[in-house]
């Protein structure tokens, strides 16, 4: 089944964006004719993704990351230096049209902050001098790809028997074993290994694959979610940079199991610099006969993989939003009218899994579920990749056996006087150092003993302002919400305003109560995971650090008069004082 015209939309927009630095009026007109769509529909797609612009973005387009980890590592100074050196202000282009400065949420380089993308090439460990040198080198006409960094993988820890994810890998091996096991055998192995979705939802992989296998459709799709957007997460970046073959093999494995002929990797726009590497791996596989017709010599198993670039949108990590984006539309999550395994990409049965899940699946078949189950703890076997960043000496990738405690992890990464730890990114859970003996595992969440993690661990020390951290998160959700449902679109905006009150010392007990209630309303009513989890950290933080929040309240509140900052409110008028 050929993919319809519309699915080429993202590629066409990327072409135009890269060719001219922006999407011009005539491009919109041409695309509208080309795709037979109204202009407003094209504009709608363009304006959804923050790497697509309708105004020039300069010869050098600079995206500086404003995530909380960057903020703590000197973002503000780097930002000021960029403005001073380029003569542009953030959100615009300098007068000569040479430099365009833009802010962007986490670019998956939390272990190298502050970092930026210049023409989609990574620049890491920035400071004032580095920025100055870089800008002057660009002015002198040096090439971006000569100046940019190749971010190190920072593999910090692996279990004693050796790394599972990063050990050497022989292409084709898994496929060979798969053909012996057969579809049911593979599913059985996945079941025994208790593999579940590593994007953070932990849905059993075998169930998903089985459902797709049994679903009715004209064809089937295997989609890899490489839209690693959760701030503080960078494990998929390292997997794709180091062992892209295991990802391809994992997808092949899934394709073989559910009898799908098509594989698509949805790669986040921020990782465009990884594209050549990924593409090279795919080409190599194709040359080796592992992709294409009769893959790995298995008669009748045709499977191929292509890469689809995203263009800057956190919500596209939500599986149904990702499907919409693949179809060349705005990345708005679908309703739960159908599940992707029933009607996914182009309304056909589709398996969507995270990069790490596919890699783990390949490794499980390679080593056997029995060996996999030797690792970890009962009920939560195997290993997990964690991306550790923030206030620690050794940020990077920690391949842990499930069951490691937070305390052990903090020791390994040489955390510096940690106070609170953000697990699974802003949408996850915020825990206090008092909880450091909790284990990291897939076990019962409600027991509140163990804690799950999608992969991001951000460590914050005593000097960090928790309210400022939460404000950073709420700003992130406010602008990354797709805007389609009320509680997420309006709710995140409202929560941010309330947090600002708290930050200014204007809030009272009632405000705290309301913050919590409103957070719950968003959780219960939002359309997708983004809105449902956007207030998680806030709610957890208010529970764990109630004393801290109380200390920030208006001390004079008597239940009747609310604190009001008259000086701030009359500042605008005071300028008319002769």
């Amino acid at each position: 089944m050929t993919e319809p015209m519309r699915t080429h939309m993202m590629d066409r927009l990327w072409e135009l964006q890269l060719a001219n630095g922006y999407i011009r009026d005539e491009d919109i007109k041409n695309l509208s004719d080309e795709f037979n769509l109204s202009s407003i529909e094209i504009e709608g797609v363009v304006s959804f993704y923050h790497f697509f612009h309708r105004k020039p973005t300069g010869k050098y387009t600079i995206y500086l990351n404003n995530s909380i980890v960057a903020d703590h590592k000197g973002f503000q100074r780097v930002k000021e230096t960029f403005e001073r050196e380029t003569g542009a202000t953030f959100g615009s282009v300098d007068r000569t049209g040479t430099f365009g400065l833009f802010l962007t949420p986490c670019i998956g380089l939390s272990d190298h902050e502050p970092s930026a993308l210049i023409n989609f090439h990574p620049f890491t460990h920035l400071n004032a001098i580095r920025v100055k040198d870089t800008i002057s080198a660009l002015r002198r006409g040096l090439d971006v790809d000569m100046l940019c960094d190749s971010p190190s993988d920072n593999l910090r820890y692996a279990p004693a028997p050796g790394s599972v994810f990063f050990k050497s890998f022989e292409p084709g091996m898994v496929l060979e074993k798969a053909s012996v096991l057969g579809s049911d055998g593979i599913l059985d192995e996945m079941k025994k290994a208790e593999l579940s979705g590593r994007g953070g939802a932990y849905y059993p992989t075998w169930k998903k694959w089985l459902a797709a296998k049994n679903a009715q459709g004209d064809t089937r799709y295997v989609v890899c979610n490489a839209d690693e957007g959760e701030p503080g997460t960078f494990k998929d970046r390292v997997l794709m940079n180091t062992r892209p073959e295991t990802l391809l093999e994992g997808m092949l494995l899934c394709g073989y199991t559910i009898q799908a002929p098509h594989g698509i990797i949805y790669l986040r726009g921020e990782y465009r610099w990884l594209l050549p590497k990924l593409q090279a791996a795919i080409d190599k596989y194709r040359e080796a006969g592992l992709l294409g017709k009769d893959c790995g010599g298995i008669k009748g198993f045709d499977f191929d993989i292509r890469v689809q670039m995203g263009a800057g949108s956190y919500v596209c990590g939500e599986e149904t939003a990702l499907l919409e984006s693949l179809e060349g539309k705005r990345g708005e999550p679908r309703t739960k009218w159908f599940f992707p395994v029933e009607k996914g990409y182009l309304q056909q049965p589709t398996v969507i899994n995270n990069v790490e899940t596919f890699c783990a699946a390949a490794r499980i078949i390679e080593m056997g579920s029995e060996a996999w189950c030797q690792l970890g703890i009962p009920g939560s076997p195997g290993v997990k990749l964690l991306s550790v960043s923030g206030d620690c000496k050794l940020p990077g990738i920690y391949e842990i056996e499930w069951g490691m405690t937070v305390a052990e992890l903090l020791e390994l990464c040489e955390a510096d006087d940690p106070m609170y730890i953000q697990i699974s990114g802003p949408s996850g859970e915020c825990i206090s150092i008092k909880d450091k003996y909790r284990r990291i595992s897939m076990l019962d969440l409600l027991a509140r003993k163990d804690i799950r993690s999608g992969g991001s661990i951000m460590v914050f020390n005593k000097s960090r302002d928790l309210v400022k951290v939460l404000l950073n998160f709420s700003e992130f959700f406010k602008s990354e919400s797709c805007g389609i449902c009320t509680p997420c679109r309006a709710g995140n905006f409202i929560i941010q305003r309330k947090l600002e009150r708290l930050d200014l010392g204007l809030a009272n007990e009632k405000d705290l109560e309301e913050l919590k209630n409103w957070g719950m309303i968003m959780k219960n009513t939002s359309r997708c995971g983004l809105g449902k989890t956007a207030t998680n950290s806030l709610i957890f933080a208010m529970d764990k650090f109630s004393d801290y929040f109380k200390a920030r309240l208006d001390k004079d509140y008597n239940g009747l008069n609310l604190k009001f900052d008259l000086e701030a409110a009359t500042e605008a008028y005071e300028q008319y004082k002769n």
Binding site: I40, T486, R489, F493, L566, A569, Y576
Partner: protein, 424 residues
């Protein structure tokens, strides 16, 4: 013969055809599930406004995206769910700039109607006052972005004869708005255009020259609730023993037009009762400039736009046992808050320096130490002091005012008719 399944809604057993939409099935069985974006003939349902959120087999989920299946157990009318629904509708009011008394769709507006059905007298959220444009560019239509609730109806349903979309979402996050394609809009037939205006649940899509007006009382949502026996009781009102002792009341108009005070006079012959029962302290009615005693009740009209308003309001809070916000301006800012999305300097300069009647150089923006200082925006009264009750309307209905006051002061039976509860 189609498949029949058994479901339970709020304890009531219902038989329905398998796979049908839950909102529809509930409606046919006399159960009202509040909803906004849901529109019967749009399939699959939109699921954007989330107002129909219910508990379906114990889990929160919107009813409109649920297909009826065997054994489905649905909770609709629980205090928690009703509050959640109110919160969602309040969010829409807080997010947009909805000025009912100045809106063509008032009385025919689904959003306003939902506010009435849910008995929303004030929003718990601070209004966001985001600056939004009004797009006058389309040939036939006006897009009023202040009023759009992003329900997706027009995006999905309005198409040209060639099948092209006319409306589409633009941007994302809190910047999301519904853009209109000028070229395609011009291709719509008159009938299609008017249909777009009608499918819009608020007054965001207006077709030039096509009137929506009907006399007050004859508009779609003026008189009758879709819920039978609509009997609005304010939660949290304590019922007190009626003791008809004389009570002292103070009133004031801050950034308001005195219209709410005028409405108070509309209680007609009951004014005679009132004089027997109530004495006025500081009030425009007595012209007392200062409080002479502590008061049982303070009634505030108008929002807070300058430093003097703040002082007065704080004084009222100090001197009155109970404070009531009377009318839209006091509740959330109302008409004067139209300036809130525009910088203060622009407003003042437009009024004093650049207006058609001001001579160049001859005018200044008034500033004197004796003059109250203008605030950066108009604030709702409950952003300054605690407000105990809210009476909506622009102005509120006289009966509504008098019934509420009687309830607060003497604990009299309190029941506001649907037709008395208005935002305009």
């Amino acid at each position: 013969m189609s498949d029949l399944v058994h479901i339970t809604i709020d304890g009531k057993s219902i038989q329905a055809e398998k796979g049908r939409n839950l909102v529809q099935v509930a409606k046919e069985n006399g159960i009202f599930i509040p909803s906004l974006c849901y529109y019967e003939h749009i399939e699959p349902p939109l699921g954007t406004c989330r107002v129909c959120t219910s508990k379906i087999n114990g889990k929160y989920a919107p009813a409109c995206t649920e297909k009826v299946r065997e054994g489905l157990t649905v909770e609709v009318n629980t205090p928690d769910l009703n509050d959640t629904r109110k919160a969602l509708v309040e969010m829409m009011f807080a997010e947009g700039n909805h000025i009912c008394p100045a809106c063509e769709k008032s009385g025919n507006c689904d959003l306003q109607h939902m506010g009435y059905e849910l008995g929303i007298s004030n929003t718990r959220f601070q209004h966001l006052f985001k600056d939004r444009l009004i797009d006058f560019n389309p040939q036939r239509m006006i897009m009023e972005h202040n009023r759009c609730i992003k329900c997706l109806r027009c995006v999905v349903d309005v198409k040209t004869d060639e099948g092209k979309t006319v409306f589409n979402y633009q941007n994302r996050g809190n910047e999301t708005y519904v853009g209109i394609d000028y070229e395609q809009e011009a291709k719509l037939t008159e009938e299609q255009a008017v249909n777009a205006m009608h499918i819009c649940p608020t007054g965001a899509i207006i077709v030039r020259g096509v009137s929506l007006s009907a006399p007050f009382g004859e508009r779609k949502f003026d008189m009758e609730s879709v819920q039978e026996n609509f009997n609005k009781k304010k939660p949290g009102l304590r019922k007190r023993e009626p003791v008809m002792s004389k009570k002292i009341v103070a009133t004031v108009s801050l950034a308001g037009c005195f219209g709410c005070h005028m409405s108070l006079l509309d209680i007609d012959t009951e004014l005679l009762d009132m004089v027997e029962l109530v004495s006025f302290d500081k009030s425009p009615l007595t012209d007392f400039k200062h409080f002479t005693s502590r008061c049982h009740l303070g009634i505030i009209e108008g929002g807070v736009c300058n430093s003097e308003n703040i002082e007065t309001l704080r004084k009222f809070r100090e001197q009155c046992d109970i404070l009531v916000s009377l009318g839209e301006c006091a509740i959330w800012g109302g008409l004067p808050s139209m300036r809130n999305s525009i910088p203060l300097s622009e407003c003042l300069e437009e009024a004093y320096l650049n207006s058609a009647t001001s001579e160049a150089g001859a005018h200044v923006v008034p500033y004197h130490e004796d003059l109250p200082k203008i605030l950066d925006r108009v604030y709702a009264c409950n952003e300054i002091v605690k407000i105990d009750y809210h009476i909506p309307g622009c102005p509120p209905d006289a009966n509504h005012i008098w019934k509420t006051v009687k309830n607060i002061l003497w604990g009299e039976e309190y029941s506001i008719l649907y037709s008395e509860f208005k935002y305009d």
